[in-house]
Structures are given as structure tokens and as C-alpha cells.
């Protein structure tokens, strides 16, 4: 078999033992890698109905088909577990050097079971696995942890995924960090913390076997050339944060906890402003010729010397959505999240919920007492210092508010509403417990159902249905009977990239067109050059449907019902007052209609369950047996 070793490494933290599982080639043809393979491993290994923070949960890591090969932007891997934030599948993508060294270690995937009694780090040194006391690493931030392990061995080829203090303290919005990249959303860091797993290091020294090296080199060269051209120029020069001004002008920029879609100071937190005033340099993941990471640097003032990469999703959450127009405070808050191991999006949206709650009188200054501010502080929108302080409080569960917000918006609002008789759920901006991304879906009607039905909650990376809305392919303010198919189609399109995985920023570099016709034939050629298979357009297309289906199946097994595909209260009941998207909501009737259309397009029942025949058609007979209807 080319492209794979056929071996999955299992590690049991409780018994401190390991074993090897072999998988047949047909299994790899079904699940490929990345989020699909990680989710399939989660399906096979996670105890159904388990508490996500109990030993029954399992960490599943799946390599990338193109990692360690010349294929541009293929240095990525997937991670899955049962999410402590949503109770459903938590699937994340990360990338860079860890993905490459995982591939070179010849493990197609790593599954981590059980729970350690004491803090532990695991070292996978090719075939050899060792367990090490990690008490010396506890309390270190993510970068310090990676450096400490690399320094101990004196080998920079050893790459490490780890958690920061947020994961150690079981914050449900904690992530996992490696090489400056994050396996984010859905609280993977808390799962690691619950197992007392501080770090997983890998050294891979072997080669990667590919079926047709000459063809792969030529294909990769052509893509690399295109990736240096205009199709990626925006990412290379400005990065994703250039979307701040776009979204603001379209009335879609979440502002003050999604109360508004325009921010009066958008220029001051824009990618353009960052480029002109704070950009230190650009950096790239391993195996990437694009280099989209814009490194922002605060050189002086109270937030100096903060430096880190600034993305749109981090920026909206920790600027406009908190009403903060001080770019330096935003950079500092983002850097804090990355250091401490917090998901920037969930952190920003959770803080904005707290700020709105403060302004509405639910919280007082005293509720924000913490070690640094024993008298508390006024957590109003626009208070950059408060926003920065709250990132630290959440990671350390410092004080009442730090402990509360570490639970994420859904749990925090439920707890406060129960304790205080309030209705903060009306502005708890999450779906299935996952905090929302930087697009207000009240005026993106196709995207609204993509978000509501998302298997990991409100996520723009898994549903790409904002694309036709924003680009004007459809009328984003209205609905029609095409939207179910469109939501399905865009979601499965994204799932192909997340499964190979390839960074989506390469999508125009195959032929100049980002659609299926422009990309799938070239992707089939890449797959075949690595594996020797005979994938075609249809086989590539099926990757996305299967990837999405295994995640949906996981959720059904965990008790999902149609009612879980919801939108936050605000998006149903409170239209924005100003901007290009003023006056719009997604009514409850509209959402139910869109869900009907979407389930029908997926070939599911009206209640959103998957017929056995559908699963068998996808080759997922064992899944059909368990959850098919």
C-alpha cells in the first residue's frame, strides 16, 4: 500500500501500554485521513454516552494523505474526540511540522485511551513509545512546553502537540497547540487535560512511499507555481483579517455580541490597519508555499511586547464583537489565547456574552474579582483591558467569572439563568454549545441552515454555505427551495479538503476555478499519484459525503435530535438596526423549512436521521446496523 503504513497506534494512558491495529486498504479508501479518519476512529473507539471528560472518551489523531510529500498545503492532520463543549463530535484540523513527522513515523493514526493518574507526556519515537513524568511542564504555556521538550532532547525534528494552562484547568474552550497551529474549536484541550496528558511528541525518521513519484512531483510543482500567483495574493499580503472591512460593509461583522453587524471603528481593527501599523512579518506552515500568517507585533505600551499571528476569526471575536477598537488590546488578547491554549473564537464570543450581561445589569463589578483585580472591574463593551484580563482569568479559572466563562457560553448562561432567574440565553451566541463564527447569519440565509445543522456546532469551516450568500450567487436575504441542496453541497465540498486534508486556501490553484469541476480532477490525480488508486471526480466527491456522514452518525449515537439543529434566540427575534443587513432575522418557520430542505437533499428522513439504505450505499454497513433507520 502506498501513502499509508496500514497501522494505527493505540496508547493506553491508564495501563501505560500500547498496541498496533492494522487496517485494510478499503478502510483507507473510505476515510482517507484528516477529519474523516479521525472521526471514524472516534466512532470505533469512543464509549457511546460517555462523559467527554471521563476515561471513556478517546483522543483520535489521523494523519494527512499528502503530509510529508511535495504536495503544497498538505501538511495537515485531524483530531477528534467527543466534545466537552457540545457533547457531540469534536473534530479539529491542525497542521505544520507535527503532521509531517507523524507521517514519517509511519503511523497513519494515533488513538489515546484512558487517563493517567499523574501529569504525563508521551513520546512516539518512530516505533518506540515512552511515557514521561510531565509535572515539570505543568503551568507552562503552549510555546514554552514545545520548547522545553525540544530542548530536553536537543533535536528540533521532534515536534509536539500540547495543551496550555487552559487545557490543564479543563476549560471547555481549550485547544491543542503544535508548531504555532491549533486544533481548535470544540474543547479538545479539555479532553487532553482530563487525561492529564500535557504533551504528545513525535519523531519520525522514515520515508513516505508514493506510487508515482514523477507524476506527484510534476503535479505538485504546477500547483506550487499557481500558489505563488494572484489566486493567493490576498492571503499572502493581508491574510484573512482583510475580511473585517468586507463583512462590516455587508453588515455582517459581529459587533457587541452580535447586537450589530457594523462597527464604527472597523477601520481600526481591519487587516489593512494591521498591515500598515503592526505587521512584523508573514510565516507559513510546513509544506506551504502561500504563507498566510500575518504576524502582528505590539512594540510599546501596556500590551507590549505581544506578538502572534492574527486571523479574521480571532480578530472579530476579540475586537468588534467585544466593542474594542484598540488593535493592541486585540493582538494581546489573541496572543494570550494562543499562549494559554484557548480557542480565540470561543473565548471572544464568551467574553462578549459576559460584557453584554454586565451592561444589562446581570453582573456587577464584584463578579469580576480576580487575583489581579481584587476589586473587580467594569466589563463594558470597548474595555480592552477587561477583555485581555478575562482571557487570563478563563485559562486559569481565576475568580467567579474565570471559572464561569471557562465553561463556554451555553453552560455559563444556563448556570447564571438558573442561579439568578435571568434570561441571558437570549444572547448566548452558540449552536450546540459551540460559539459562532464571524458572519452574522441573519442576513445569510443559506448559511443559517449550514450553521444550524453543523455536526460540530456553529462552524464556518465545516459549512461553507456563506460562500454563495456572500458572493451574491443567491439572494442572501431570502430563502427558496434551492438552499437545502446548496447547504449540503458546500458542506461536503469543505469536507473533501478537511479529509485529505488540504488547506482550502489552495482551492483556486488547480485550474483557477475553486468549484468542484475546477478542483476535483486535479485532486484525483494527486490521490492516485500517491496511492496508485484510480480515483475520479465522483470518488473525490464521495469523500466529502462520507466524511460528513460519519460525523453525523456519531452525533445520532450520542442522542442527537432535530431540535439540536437550532439557531441562537437573537437571530430569530432581534433584527439588526443599522447597516446593509438591517431588519433581517431568520424566523423559526424559515429555519424549520430550511432544515426540511437540507435533510431531504442529504437523503435523510424528515426528522434528520439516516436511512440504512443510504449508509449501505456509502459502504458504511456497520454504521447502518447501529444507527440507520
Amino acid at each position: 500500500m502506498h501513502g499509508y503504513s496500514g497501522k494505527i497506534l493505540h496508547i493506553d494512558l491508564t495501563a501505560r501500554k500500547t498496541w498496533v491495529e492494522t487496517k485494510p486498504e478499503e478502510w483507507y479508501k473510505m476515510y482517507i485521513g484528516g477529519v474523516a479518519m479521525a472521526s471514524r476512529l472516534a466512532w470505533e473507539n469512543i464509549e457511546s454516552g460517555c462523559d467527554p471528560l471521563s476515561p471513556g472518551n478517546v483522543i483520535c489523531i489521523a494523519g494527512g494523505l499528502f503530509a510529508g510529500t511535495p504536495v503544497p498545503v498538505g501538511g495537515k492532520y485531524g483530531m477528534a474526540s467527543k466534545s466537552p463543549l457540545t457533547g457531540f463530535i469534536g473534530d479539529s484540523l491542525s497542521g505544520s511540522w507535527l503532521a509531517v513527522t507523524l507521517k514519517r513515523s509511519e503511523w497513519d493514526g494515533i488513538v489515546i485511551h484512558g487517563t493517567s493518574e499523574d501529569w504525563v507526556r508521551v513520546f512516539v519515537d518512530d516505533d518506540r513509545v515512552t511515557f514521561h513524568d510531565a509535572s515539570n511542564l505543568v503551568g507552562l504555556n503552549t510555546y514554552e512546553t514545545e520548547d522545553a521538550i525540544r530542548d530536553e532532547y536537543g533535536d528540533d525534528q521532534i515536534r509536539t502537540a500540547c495543551i496550555g494552562p487552559a487545557g490543564e484547568n479543563l476549560s471547555r474552550i481549550a485547544n491543542v497547540s503544535n508548531d504555532g497551529r491549533k486544533a481548535g474549536r470544540t474543547g479538545q484541550g479539555a479532553v487532553w487535560g482530563s487525561k492529564k496528558l500535557k504533551a504528545l511528541s513525535i519523531r519520525g525518521t522514515k520515508g513516505v512511499s508514493v506510487a508515482d513519484p514523477d507524476a506527484l512531483l510534476q503535479l505538485s510543482y504546477d500547483i506550487l507555481q499557481a500558489a505563488q500567483g494572484p489566486h493567493t495574493q490576498k492571503y499572502r499580503i493581508l491574510g484573512t483579517s482583510s475580511n473585517v472591512l468586507n463583512m462590516n460593509r455587508l453588515g455582517l461583522l459581529p459587533t457587541r455580541n452580535y447586537q450589530q453587524g457594523t462597527f464604527e471603528d472597523a477601520e481600526l481593527v481591519s487587516g489593512e490597519y494591521l498591515h500598515e501599523n503592526y505587521k512584523a512579518k508573514t510565516t507559513a506552515c510546513a509544506q506551504c508555499p502561500i504563507a498566510c500568517e500575518q504576524i502582528g507585533h505590539v512594540k510599546e505600551g501596556p500590551f507590549a511586547p505581544a506578538m502572534g499571528h492574527i486571523e479574521y476569526e480571532s480578530l472579530f471575536a476579540l475586537s468588534s464583537n467585544c466593542g474594542v477598537s484598540d488593535m493592541e488590546a486585540s493582538i494581546k488578547a489573541i496572543v494570550n489565547c494562543n499562549d494559554l491554549g484557548l480557542d480565540t473564537m470561543s473565548t471572544g464570543v464568551t467574553i462578549s456574552w459576559a460584557m453584554e450581561s454586565y451592561e444589562k445589569g446581570v453582573f456587577t463589578k464584584e463578579d469580576f474579582k480576580c487575583e489581579k483585580y481584587p476589586e473587580g472591574f467594569e466589563a463594558r463593551f470597548g474595555n480592552g483591558e477587561a477583555m485581555v484580563a478575562l482571557t487570563e482569568m478563563i485559562a486559569h479559572r481565576d475568580g467567579y467569572m474565570g471559572d464561569l466563562l471557562a465553561e463556554g457560553t451555553k453552560r455559563a448562561s444556563a448556570r447564571v439563568d438558573e442561579e439568578r432567574g435571568t434570561e441571558t440565553y437570549k444572547w448566548a451566541m452558540n449552536i450546540k454549545g459551540l460559539e459562532l463564527p464571524g458572519y452574522d447569519a441573519r442576513a445569510l440565509k443559506t448559511f443559517s441552515v449550514g450553521l444550524a445543522a453543523g455536526t460540530r456546532g456553529g462552524c464556518h469551516n465545516r459549512s461553507a454555505a456563506y460562500d454563495p450568500d456572500i458572493k451574491g450567487d443567491v439572494d442572501r436575504f431570502t430563502i427558496d427551495d434551492t438552499r437545502g441542496e446548496l447547504a449540503k453541497s458546500t458542506e461536503e465540498y469543505a469536507a473533501v479538503y478537511d479529509t485529505l486534508p488540504l488547506c482550502k486556501f489552495i482551492r483556486r490553484c488547480f485550474t483557477g476555478k475553486a468549484d468542484r469541476a475546477g478542483a476535483w480532477p486535479a485532486i484525483a490525480q494527486l490521490i492516485n499519484a500517491v496511492t496508485g488508486w484510480d480515483f475520479d471526480y465522483d470518488a473525490v466527491d464521495l469523500i466529502g459525503e462520507r466524511a460528513h456522514t460519519i460525523k453525523k452518525a456519531f452525533n445520532i449515537r450520542e442522542g442527537w435530535t432535530r431540535a439540536d439543529d437550532y439557531l441562537p434566540w437573537r437571530w430569530h427575534h432581534e433584527p439588526m438596526k443599522e447597516g446593509a443587513s438591517a431588519g433581517h432575522v431568520v424566523t423559526e418557520e424559515e429555519l424549520e423549512y430550511l432544515k426540511d430542505l437540507y435533510y431531504e437533499a442529504k437523503g435523510w428522513t424528515k426528522e434528520g436521521f439516516i436511512p440504512k439504505e443510504k449508509l449501505i450505499e456509502l459502504g458504511m454497513d456497520d454504521v447502518a446496523e447501529e444507527i440507520g433507520v
Partner: protein, 94 residues
């Protein structure tokens, strides 16, 4: 007629300005505005505008009055006096 043209992203960097007030003859099409930009700001060619000097390089796109995106096959349509156009690079992610 008078048109306000806002520039975001790479277009702003290439032009060195955030906004232009354009005095145009009646019947000027969106494609003509691209030609005008090519002539005035050659640095846009290759990144924002295709080498032909009259076609926007995807995902750059005109937004008209915050409500409507002008698609590639609509570039021969004409804006009206007082319209506000934004030239933006419209691809999401991050």
C-alpha cells in the same frame, strides 16, 4: 455622473488611497471602471485586475450600494449617478 469608489484590501494598497470620487460619463459600465483603474494604478494589474486590464481577478468583485455583488457576466451593466461601489476581495476563511 458621480460615483464613489471605496477600495479595500489589495486594491487599497496598490492605489495608496481608501476612496475615489469618480466623474464618469453616462453609460460608463463597470468594466470601464476596471479599465480606468488599470490605467491609473498599474500596480493593480496582476493581483486585483487580470492582465487584460479590464477583468477583475477573482475573488475581487464590485459591491454596489452594499446590497449587490456585480458578477463577471454583469460587468457591462452601468452604475447610476450617486452610486457607491466597493472593490473588495471576497473570500472568507480564517
Amino acid at each position: 455622473m458621480r460615483i464613489q469608489l471605496e477600495l479595500f484590501g489589495l486594491a487599497r494598497i496598490a492605489a495608496g488611497t481608501k476612496e475615489l470620487a469618480l466623474e464618469l460619463e453616462e453609460g460608463t459600465a463597470f468594466r470601464d471602471i476596471v479599465r480606468l483603474l488599470s490605467a491609473r494604478y498599474p500596480a493593480m494589474i496582476g493581483n486585483v485586475i487580470q492582465p487584460d486590464g479590464e477583468t477583475l481577478q477573482p475573488p475581487n468583485i464590485f459591491n454596489l450600494n452594499t446590497r449587490r455583488m456585480i458578477q463577471a457576466d454583469q460587468m457591462d451593466e452601468c452604475p447610476n449617478d450617486g452610486d457607491r461601489i466597493v472593490l473588495m476581495s471576497m473570500s472568507a476563511g480564517g
